[in-house]
Symmetry: C2
Subunit: 295 residues, 2 copies
């Protein structure tokens, strides 16, 4: 199956998923309508929805119906949107564009952007706890997503990234940042799907490995795109990471060596799926798509 | 029992509780040591620890041992610290002092302060999910605390507060802000204790009512202190809310009418405890202490 087809499949998936996300973000009378607007603005920006897709696909591979994985699919997209809003803040990466649109603080102001991120983070856990099929699944989901988000995950990675801008270039540090900041949440998507399905320890480990390698490849491919693409195709500022002195694989290792590493990660991701045979082809296609995408 | 004694009891409680909080915040190898420092800095500032005390006291009243309520006591203090860090940010209330010390962003910078708040919020849910006695309690706790924190709770209240600075003074709006921003979390402390104890619906409702009224009285008393006290006693800037045009009861109603309202709320809080008899005396003392405190 070629990349075009995977892209089409993801687009079809996003069309089906987004109304659920929209319904969640429109629910119930709000204390502050402006806050709801700010949360909706970023969470509903068109995107590939790779993380919720992974939750759903892994769940499906291991026997969970889409309705059983949906709360986790919604929650992980909320966490992803939270992290983008806060990363874009002037005090962090100071970005003006995200997915081709003005970033949240550009539209709603810095204070409201901080709160919109906070609100999406809290909402993620609320959805997991209130919509899970059972308390066991709820507790497992919250433990997993909170760890992937917190001081050992995205937030810790962003903090290391923030400090990294003032430190000398270091491939080990780049690896640590990428692992916690990006790869961990993609791994978490796979784990949330497995938890919903009540997976065996072996299946859980296999999809965890797959998710980690895909996540590492994803971030490296992103660095390569940032270094070699232009802002029109990407819908955000490019060569920005390089200019800012941010820690990237491309800066630490050069373009060619970074490309080799992406290939290695892809191979490891595909290897991790061996035990599932042809039933895991959708996940294999996604891994290749993530690496070969041009935007 | 006089206020001095309640103050002593709270101080003794904080001495017992704080080592648990410190242990939680020192756990496990961190991705970013600086992030951990920033999280510890704010969460461990000396404080009265009223919210975790309420979790524990309500739990104890309804039959839960301290060990069974501890995860919720830790989590609610993390959420409280999160909200203070983000509220103090330059893009929000722009405060330089908190509990007599420089605020988080003054010490660690704005970006790290945003992340420290984020990290404490995620940690709260991780603690609930991983340390609860059962998946049922974990799921109940997360649902409750996430709602109290999110768009309907603190975060929604802070957003309304942020917008209120540009709106005409309005007692109804002040009430809505106080309810979601402050009272809801104090109510949540009581609910978390009740959930740990597996409380009956009637007991749950009674401690919920108590918590809400104490929370409203607490915020009003805070407004009164801000308007009538000086910064030395309070350890933070005073008359600041009045100067900034922030929505407060004192501005909307005047000092005398605000004092009457605090009394009303205290009466309602005590009434809610009637069903528990003398066993709820600690909670009665706390309600009076909250209203009559001078710092």
């Amino acid at each position: 199956m070629d990349d075009k087809t995977v892209g089409d499949r993801l687009a079809a998936w996003a069309r089906e998923f987004d109304p659920h996300l929209e319904a969640l973000l429109s629910e119930s009378p709000q204390v502050s309508e402006r806050l709801s607007e700010a949360m909706r603005y970023s969470a509903l920006l068109p995107g590939k929805r790779v993380r919720p897709y992974l939750v759903t696909e892994v769940g499906s591979l291991l026997g969970a119906a889409p309705a059983d994985t949906r709360p986790a699919a919604l929650a992980i997209e909320c966490v992803h949107a939270f992290s983008l809003i806060h990363d874009d803040l002037p005090a962090m990466d100071d970005d003006d564009l995200r997915r081709g649109k003005p970033t949240n603080h550009k539209v709603f102001g810095e204070g409201m952007a901080v709160l919109a991120g906070d609100g999406l983070l809290a909402l993620a856990f609320e959805v997991l706890a209130t919509q899970a099929r059972s308390p066991q699944v709820a507790a497992g989901w919250v433990a997993e997503l909170a760890e992937a988000t917190g001081r050992q995950g995205i937030i810790g990675g962003q903090a290391a990234d923030l400090q990294g801008e003032t430190q000398p270039l270091d491939a080990e540090l780049v690896g640590r940042i990428h692992r916690s900041k990006t790869a961990r949440l993609i791994q978490s998507a796979c784990r949330l799907g497995a938890i919903a399905a009540g997976a065996s320890a072996e299946d859980y480990r296999a999809v965890s490995d797959y998710g980690l390698q895909v996540g590492l490849a994803f971030q490296m491919a992103d660095d390569l795109l940032d270094a070699t693409s232009n802002s029109e195709a990407l819908g955000k500022q490019t060569a920005k990471d390089t200019d800012s002195g941010k820690q990237t694989y491309v800066r630490a290792l050069g373009v060619e060596r970074a490309r080799d590493l992406v290939r290695d990660k892809l191979d490891l991701a595909l290897e991790a799926l061996a035990r599932f045979g042809a039933r895991a082809d959708n996940l294999r296609d996604l891994a290749r798509f993530v690496v070969e995408r041009d935007h």
